[in-house]
């Protein structure tokens, strides 16, 4: 039975891949716009960039602010979220900041960041954090707040300390919502990393996109965009694996691609 469902979901993924890429190929053949390459042209450009090492080089630039920003966002975001969720006072004080941050148009903030932190790594890390952190904080705080009272009471009645209850009851109970925050935050972080390369200084994958567009090398441009999407999907899948590994009984089929 599990074997069957794994097979079925794999088949579905392959099928939907074929449909999407097929539609892309057809749209490129028509073409819907003269700047829209076919699927195979893009894949060929992708293969070229992988083989000549330029893609790898680009990712070594792009991944640095992305990885640092996501790590900071995950750890600080969960910590701040716990803090806010556990005390009603911080809720009132800090929650509005993250709600505003989540709603703020990022593009408007970038000139400010550049003014303060320059055009280097720091500004790019900030962009990733601003994109990724609010949803992680808000989800963590919400998950903590929504821990069933009876589970907390159970922990207390069986002599759990405050720390036991946070680590063994509240965090695992909030984990589905925390992980969904991490997934949303990670996708936003990917967007932030590319956006910062498009808006601050063209480096890495953002540079490939900007440069190939300026010389009308659309297959390379789409190949770069495609590669970042693939990377994001792979990363989200890894996150989901981690969640299943950590909190098996919590995952009841709601978490999938």
């Amino acid at each position: 039975m599990p074997m069957l469902s794994i097979n079925r979901s794999l088949h579905l993924k392959i099928l939907s891949g074929i449909i999407v890429f097929g539609a892309w190929e057809i749209a490129g053949q028509i073409p819907v716009s003269f700047g829209f390459p076919t699927f195979f042209e893009s894949m060929a450009a992708l293969a070229d960039m992988v083989l000549d090492g330029s893609l790898l080089h680009a990712y070594s630039d792009t991944l640095r602010p992305l990885a640092i920003g996501l790590l900071i966002s995950a750890f600080a975001g969960i910590a701040i979220g716990l803090w806010i969720g556990l005390s009603s006072w911080f809720d009132w004080l800090f929650l509005p900041i993250f709600i505003v941050m989540q709603a703020a148009p990022l593009a408007a903030l970038i000139p400010l960041l550049v003014m303060v932190y320059g055009i280097g790594l720091t500004s790019k890390i900030f962009v990733v954090c601003i994109m990724a952190m609010p949803v992680i904080v808000l989800n963590t705080a919400g998950g903590v707040r929504n821990t069933p009272t009876n589970l907390k009471e159970m922990g207390r009645s069986f002599l759990g300390t405050e720390k036991d209850i946070i680590l063994k009851v509240i965090i695992p109970s909030a984990s589905p919502i925390i992980f969904s925050g991490l997934r949303l935050g990670a996708s936003a972080g990917f967007i932030g990393a590319i956006l910062s390369e498009l808006k601050i200084t063209p480096t890495g994958v953002g540079d490939i996109i900007t440069y190939s567009r300026s010389i009308a090398d659309y297959p390379s441009m789409y190949a770069a965009i495609f590669s970042i999407i693939v990377l994001a999907v792979v990363f989200l899948n890894l996150l989901e694996r981690l969640e299943k590994l950590l909190f098996e009984g919590n995952v009841r089929g709601y978490a999938s691609d």
Binding site: N150, M154, F158, T161, K168, S173, F247, G249
Partner: protein, 266 residues
């Protein structure tokens, strides 16, 4: 009233000393007066039911005894020691089971021992024994969502038994399971009271259930909340579990309780 019952103060010679005593307990939530000056003793080694219509403060009283809630006034003693919070002498069985959904049956049952800092192999050994005792052998690795309501409450019961507390606090433990399972549970509970030397505090809103399982029944009435009556069935404990429901004493007590309670049922 019948001759086979004792009221408070009558014939105390055969009543064991109290394991738990609640004295002059009052509890108000805002302006809701949940309990008012309630005094009640729970004899050691026996099962005492708290019976009453919903909203009369049964859960509140049980949580105060558990140390999960502070009374507005009054005090609770367990074995002569005043209660200031949860303690190793009391274990709670929750109405809605309160199982950790992310943890296996084994970990859930061992959770009380885990919180007490007992090493993994030791606590899992103990938990396995109690899982067998409640009839869940083979389900150690299952998760709560894979079990029926009755099985989940067996997990909750095993968790409470595993910490080996003197006093078991059970808040309507069988109200969320189906009728057949419930009857089986009631029989098993009688066996448990007979063989374990523990004091049971059992909340229920079912008259039949209270009379079937109890050594002592405290009837709680609302507005103002108080213990209105204490009934001690006499001859039922020596009967075979299958015969209790046909026993004239059983039927009498059920009728008598209904007569006192019907006034409060809208």
């Amino acid at each position: 009233m019948g001759t086979h019952q004792t009221r408070v103060g009558g014939d105390p010679s055969d009543i064991p000393a109290a394991a738990v005593s609640a004295r002059n307990i009052s509890k108000t939530y805002g302006d809701v007066e949940a309990l008012k000056n309630l005094t009640l003793e729970f004899p050691r080694g026996q099962l005492t039911s708290l019976l009453g219509p919903s909203g009369c403060g049964k859960t509140t009283l049980l949580k105060i005894i558990a140390g999960l809630l502070e009374p507005s006034s009054g005090e609770v003693e367990v074995n002569g020691i005043p209660v200031t919070g949860p303690g190793p002498d009391r274990a709670f069985v929750f109405q809605d089971f309160a199982l950790l959904p992310w943890a296996s049956v084994l970990r859930n049952v061992a959770f009380g021992l885990e919180l007490r800092g007992i090493g993994r192999s030791e606590r899992e050994g103990i938990a396995e024994r109690y899982i067998r005792n409640v009839g869940l052998a083979g389900f150690e690795k299952s998760f709560p969502h894979e079990l029926s309501g009755g099985m989940r409450q067996r997990v909750g019961l095993a968790r409470a038994l595993a910490v080996d507390s003197q006093v078991l606090l059970m808040d309507e433990p069988f109200s969320a399971v189906d009728e057949q399972t419930r009857r089986k549970f009631q029989e098993d509970l009688l066996g448990l009271v007979a063989e374990e030397n523990k004091t049971f505090l059992f909340v229920t809103h079912s008259i039949e259930e209270a009379v079937y399982v109890s050594d002592q029944i405290a009837i709680l009435l609302p507005r103002p909340s108080r213990v209105s009556e204490i009934i001690r069935p006499r001859g039922l404990r020596d009967k075979d579990v299958a015969d209790i429901r046909r026993d004239p004493e059983y039927l009498d007590i059920v009728d008598q309780i209904w007569a006192s309670l019907r006034f409060y049922v809208e």
